[in-house]
Symmetry: C2
Subunit: 228 residues, 2 copies
């Protein structure tokens, strides 16, 4: 009898990747481009979305949002005001709540999402700079939001997050005059862990840079149909 | 034969608590009071420590620091300049790095700590608003640092963290004039999840409130000897 030995490694991540691929297939069938939006707590993800999603419909991109939080629906309630479909996903089923979204959690939300009626799905992850980077959910692109109030050292301290993304939004730049923050130093740290990664300076409060971010999302959201 | 049924629940947390008690015993034997300092990434834990620890020796409190990070020793290097014993603990042994300290990680650092030569040990946890609250490490008190740049909603979105602490430091208040941040609203949210929890407004940058925080630490650090 022929015997094959299979090494069991990182089983949880393997299972996650299998489910992420199944999500990916469903997104492809529906022609939906998916963005995984990640940051530390309070970096301004939701406020950036409030600004950037407003106006995307006029550019022909129909958006949906999957809102990940440990508990509550504060952000989902805010985004629902934009009249886009929003689904809340809470991770507090475990002991104290999971600190990230995984592919299976996202999969459990798919039946509640009108995939055939949207072009772009934004998945707002749980605010955390460690674990979200380890779990693919079936997305096309990952965006990291880092706020200038967090300090220039974050790419060096949480490198996996900054390596695992296609775009870095440096947010809250309206506060730069009031901080000891060196944008050039942040960019150098960024290039050290992810050389040349695309980056934009934004302020969700003043709107600076939001148009460029909206255009980036619009390009992503229309890509699928351009290919088809 | 008499048979007893033992229900196996939350095994990982049970094991953690067992080790936390062993740590606690070691701290008690050495007469060391221990603080677990927690926050989101970039809330200002290290800078607050730089300010507050400077001057504690003059008040008769000998301090040591255990610095928890996913990787690197940026914060430990900063604190070593204060001429206090600092031990770096990196959590990146796992796939992408653990997002919190647990009792066993702290235990592994104990041999490197001069417990007999300090009165107060500060454990600076990994920047994260979810998992650190779930893992006791043998501490006497837990402190949550939240920055006013993170928004007033954080206690409602990450309630376990704000419930699991004895003191909340509301940091970066020097930025209040430049933010749409309502301190009263934060305090109301705080009272909703942890009624009456002690709180202090601080700015590690200007030094406002740091003296009160230092006094709080000094009281804690001399308690042990007062009892003995």
């Amino acid at each position: 009898m022929h015997r094959t030995k299979v090494k069991v490694v990182e089983e949880a991540l393997d299972a996650n990747n299998t489910i992420a691929r199944a999500n990916r297939d469903d997104f492809d069938r529906a022609g939906v481009t998916v963005v995984n939006l990640m940051s530390a707590p309070g970096a301004g993800k939701t406020r950036l979305l409030e600004r950037a999603l407003d106006g995307l419909a006029e550019q022909g991109v129909r958006v949906g949002v999957l809102e990940g939080d440990v508990q509550g629906s504060f952000d989902a309630d805010r985004l629902a005001l934009l009249h886009v479909p929003v689904v809340q996903l809470n991770t507090d089923g475990g002991f104290g709540g999971e600190c990230h979204l995984d592919a299976n959690m996202v999969r459990s939300a798919l039946p509640a999402l009108p995939l055939d009626e949207i072009d772009l799905l934004i998945i707002e992850n749980v605010g955390n700079l460690v674990c979200p980077a380890e779990f693919r959910v079936g997305e096309d692109a990952r965006i990291m939001v880092c706020s200038v109030t967090e300090g220039e050292d974050k790419p060096l301290k949480y490198p996996l997050m900054f390596r695992a993304c296609e775009l870095v939004l440096v947010n809250k730049i309206d506060l730069l005059p009031h901080l000891d923050f060196d944008v050039a130093r942040l960019e150098a740290n960024l290039d050290q862990v992810h050389p040349g990664v695309a980056r934009m300076l934004t302020s969700a409060r003043t709107g600076e840079g939001v148009e460029a971010f909206r255009a980036w999302l619009a390009t992503l959201g229309t890509r699928e149909r351009a290919v088809a």
